[in-house]
Amino acid sequence: MLRDITLGQYYQTDSVLHRLDPRVKLAGTLLYIISLFFFRNFIGYLIAAAFLAVVIKLSRVPFKFMVKGMKAILFLLLITVVFNLFLTPGEPLLSVWKLTVTKEGLGTAVTMAVRLVMLVIGSSVMTLTTTPNNLTDGMEKGMRPLKVFKVPVHEVAMMMSIALRFIPILLEETDKIMKAQIARGADFESGNLIRRAKALVPLLVPLFISAFRRANDLAMAMEARCYRGGEGRTKMKPLIYQKRDRVAYLCILFYLVGSICVGRLLL
């Protein structure tokens, strides 16, 4: 179950999307997510879904990798749906005991669920087609203007890249510790919420200790390879916009204007 999270996992293949400048993909993902919150009718979501389908097809990443990422937010999705379903005031549709499902509630619940699913799949496409190093390069360069306000852009980008690189390693380790503790009679599955939370202590303590040790090792290895922050660093893969990046920007712009116009204005 722990290995199912695909957010932050790069899928190695060769596609147009893989070759795009990360800044395009970052901006595209951001605009796509924003667009999802603008729609007022379902046609907008249809267009967004169609756009996403085309992008997934172009990415050449098997769809099941994106669905896998969904499992991680299943709980969040459930909470969102349930809360919206029962707690939105309005015209009652169905009443069970003290809980009432309203027409408006049903509407919001469905919209929220669709938004969340598309949001997660949309951002998975970005992380699956962009190496974390590339991604952070994109962020570093895209957010460079913020340096004027003393925002440590390079440092933040580097931290994110390292965090992303260690996600699979730490997940594997969690799995290992979990199995080791189960073999010693630990019980992670039964009991009420408090007991289960308590059962996590023997999992989290060794995990944290190991993470700190890894951080220490990595810092030493980076220093040994002359890492001293962003000053005076050159790039192995400098970001330069190509023709395909300009085309992609145009496509995104076209999608954004089109979908929002249709999704907001047409009824």
Binding site: Y10, T131, N133, I169, R214, D217, R225, C226
Partner: protein, 287 residues
């Protein structure tokens, strides 16, 4: 003066209790003198806690000596302004391959070092290609490090250090976490760098088999250099090695036992082939 020289180096770890009072002092490195020439293959042996890793960290200026001096390429490691030049001269490979790979793709990781020292983009690519070829990992340049075996990851780490064109590479137990196959791959790559590229290699290990090809070997115990010489000279003192809690290779041990039983064999036999070559004529004569 060689590429690396240490003079009366002492390093002390100060142990403190919870209030920060000094509880005791552990001397990890105790008056060590080394002089290593450019292009040599040096092995430093020792069991756990003998001070060999602490000594290695001095060569990369990760640690600076409590007493004495370390020179790397003529630069004193205690001079703070020289620290980056020193690290560029003497690269370092660590034990755990997972904890020293920064890139998510093999080639990006190898490029990390050259990026840090400000090499122009075009040259970074040349260096990455050259380094990956030198360790036999060029075919894997587009792979994610998570998909490689331990030996392959460690070769990527070596390539990452070699891409910075150091004069010397220090490997701190690079094979401790690997299986026998991975160990062999790594040692082969290291020997290649030493013989083909002329890089000075300092290999820190507790596997005796790995030092056979070294030009010179040092055995450390309790922070001091307990033995020094060619691998053959070291291996000919089986009893002393056992006293220092080191595992002598099986062939050497067998030859030593045979010698004790009165069979005329030379000291310090290192490989099975050597032992066979010595034994066959003896057998013929016996018949």
């Amino acid at each position: 003066m060689g590429i690396i020289k240490t003079q009366e180096v002492v390093f002390e770890y100060i142990r403190r209790d919870e209030e920060g009072n000094v509880e005791g002092i552990t001397t990890a490195v105790d008056h060590v003198n080394l002089d290593i020439k450019q292009g040599q293959f040096i092995a430093i042996l020792g069991h756990n806690g003998s001070g060999k890793s602490t000594l290695a960290k001095h060569i990369n200026a990760i640690l600076t000596p409590t007493e004495g001096t370390v020179w790397v390429g003529g630069m004193d490691t205690s001079k703070e302004e020289k620290v980056w030049d020193i690290r560029q001269t003497a690269g370092m490979v660590f034990q755990n391959p997972d904890n020293q790979i920064i890139g998510q793709v093999v080639e990006e990781d190898v490029g990390f070092g050259p990026e840090n020292i400000g090499i122009p983009t075009k040259e970074i690519w040349e260096r990455v290609e050259e380094s990956l070829k030198a360790v036999g990992m060029y075919a894997f340049r587009k792979y994610s490090p998570n998909k490689l075996s331990g030996g392959q990851k460690q070769r990527v780490s070596i390539a990452g250090v070699f891409a910075m064109h150091p004069k010397c590479i220090v490997l701190d137990e690079p094979t401790a976490m690997l299986d026998p196959n991975g160990r062999r791959e790594v040692i082969r790559a290291v020997r290649g760098l030493n013989q083909v590229e002329g890089v000075t290699v300092i290999l820190i290990t507790h596997y005796m088999e790995e030092i056979i090809h070294a030009d010179r070997a040092f055995v450390m115990d309790k922070g001091r250099i307990a033995m020094e010489g060619t691998p053959r000279e070291i291996f000919s003192q089986v009893e002393k090695l056992q006293e220092l809690r080191l595992d002598v290779p099986q062939v050497t041990l067998l030859a030593h036992e045979l010698q004790k039983r009165g069979i005329a064999l030379p000291n310090g036999i290192l490989t099975t082939q050597e032992l066979a070559d010595q034994l066959v004529p003896l057998g013929k004569r016996g018949n």
